[in-house]
Symmetry: C2
Subunit: 181 residues, 2 copies
C-alpha cells in the first residue's frame, strides 16, 4: 500500500502534500484511483475521482451554475457512458460528498481528445481548482498515448487556458459549429 501511494504521488507530483485523508478511506468513498487535491487553504478536503458515479441532477446543476445550457438527463447519461474520460472533483464529506468540479473528454483514444463541460462551482473559483483539474485531465489523456488535446474555449476562459500553455487558434484555425434546425 505504501508503494501504491508513493507511485501515485510520483505520477501526480502537483497533487503532493504532507497532510491528508487516508488513501483507503478515499478509495472506499470515491472509487479506485481517486486521490486528494491539496490546495494551500485547508480545512476542507477535495477529491479527484474518475470512478465515483455522478448524480446527474447534481452534475447538471453544477454545469448550469457556470452558464452551460440545460440538457435532458437521458442524453447526458449516454454522453457520459460514451466519454473517454470523466473527472469529478468532490468536496469531501464521509456521507454526502458534493460535486464542485467536472470535466470530460471525447475522442478516438489515440490521436484526438477533445475536452468538454469543464466547470468549477462559482463558490470555489479563483482558488486554483480549475488549474489542478485541467492538469489532471491533461495528465490522464497523455497516459492514453495522446499527444494533442483540443477544446473550444469560451471568451471568458481564453486567458485561463493561455496561461496554462494552451495554444489559441493555432495557424489561424477557427471553431466551426453546425446546429440542427
Amino acid at each position: 500500500m505504501i508503494k501504491d501511494i508513493a507511485s501515485r504521488k510520483s505520477r501526480f507530483p502537483f497533487m503532493r502534500n504532507s497532510v491528508g485523508l487516508d488513501i483507503d478511506l478515499i478509495e472506499e468513498i470515491y472509487g479506485k484511483g481517486s486521490f486528494e487535491c491539496h490546495l494551500p487553504n485547508e480545512g476542507q478536503h477535495f477529491i479527484f475521482s474518475q470512478s465515483r458515479p455522478f448524480d446527474l441532477i447534481e452534475l447538471e446543476q453544477l454545469l448550469q451554475s457556470v452558464g452551460w445550457s440545460r440538457r435532458p438527463l437521458k442524453r447526458v447519461k449516454k454522453a457520459l457512458d460514451n466519454s473517454l474520460l470523466k473527472v469529478g472533483l468532490w468536496r469531501h464529506d464521509p456521507k454526502f460528498p458534493r460535486l464542485i468540479g467536472f470535466a470530460r473528454c471525447t475522442g478516438d483514444g489515440i490521436l484526438e481528445a477533445t475536452v468538454w463541460d469543464v466547470a468549477i462551482s462559482p463558490i470555489y473559483q479563483g482558488s486554483g481548482f480549475g488549474k489542478k483539474l485541467m492538469l489532471y485531465v491533461i495528465k490522464s489523456i497523455k497516459e492514453m498515448g495522446i499527444k494533442r488535446i483540443t477544446l473550444f474555449a469560451d471568451p471568458g476562459v481564453i486567458d485561463f487556458y493561455k496561461s496554462q500553455g494552451w495554444t489559441l487558434d493555432p495557424k489561424g484555425m477557427k471553431c466551426a459549429f453546425w446546429y440542427a434546425n
Copy 2:
C-alpha cells in the same frame, strides 16, 4: 429492392440522379448502405461508403495530399476503430476502387460530434465533392440524434464551411490546442 432504393433516395435527396450503377453491384463492392454520389460531370462513378475497409497507406496518402501530417499507421488504425463515423468517397472501379475523399467523426454519440480529417483528393477538388461529403457526414451524424456538430477549420477552408451554414467562432469562442512535449 425497389422500395429500398426509393427509401434511400428520399433519405439523401441531394444524391438523387436518374442514371447510375446498379445498387446491388455498389453494395457488393462497397458494403451495405453505400450509394452513388452523382455530380453533373459524369463518365466516372463515385461511391460513398461507411463500410468498405480502408487501405491505411492509401488513406494516409490522401490525407497527406491535402496537407495533413504523416501519422503512424498503427495509431491511425486504432483511431478509425474508435471513430463514431468514417466515410470514404471512392472513384468506382469494379476491381480497384480508388479512395478520393474521406472524413471521420469522434464524439459521445449523443451530445457532441467532432469532424476530423476531411479531405478530397486535389485532382477532384472544385467539383462539389467536398460539399456532398459534408452534407452526407452531417446527415449521418444527425441520424444519431446529435444536434450540434463541431470541427476545427483551417484558414483555407473557412469560407467553404461558412458557405455551407457552419457558424465560425460562435460567441467569440476560440480553438484551444494543447501539445505534448
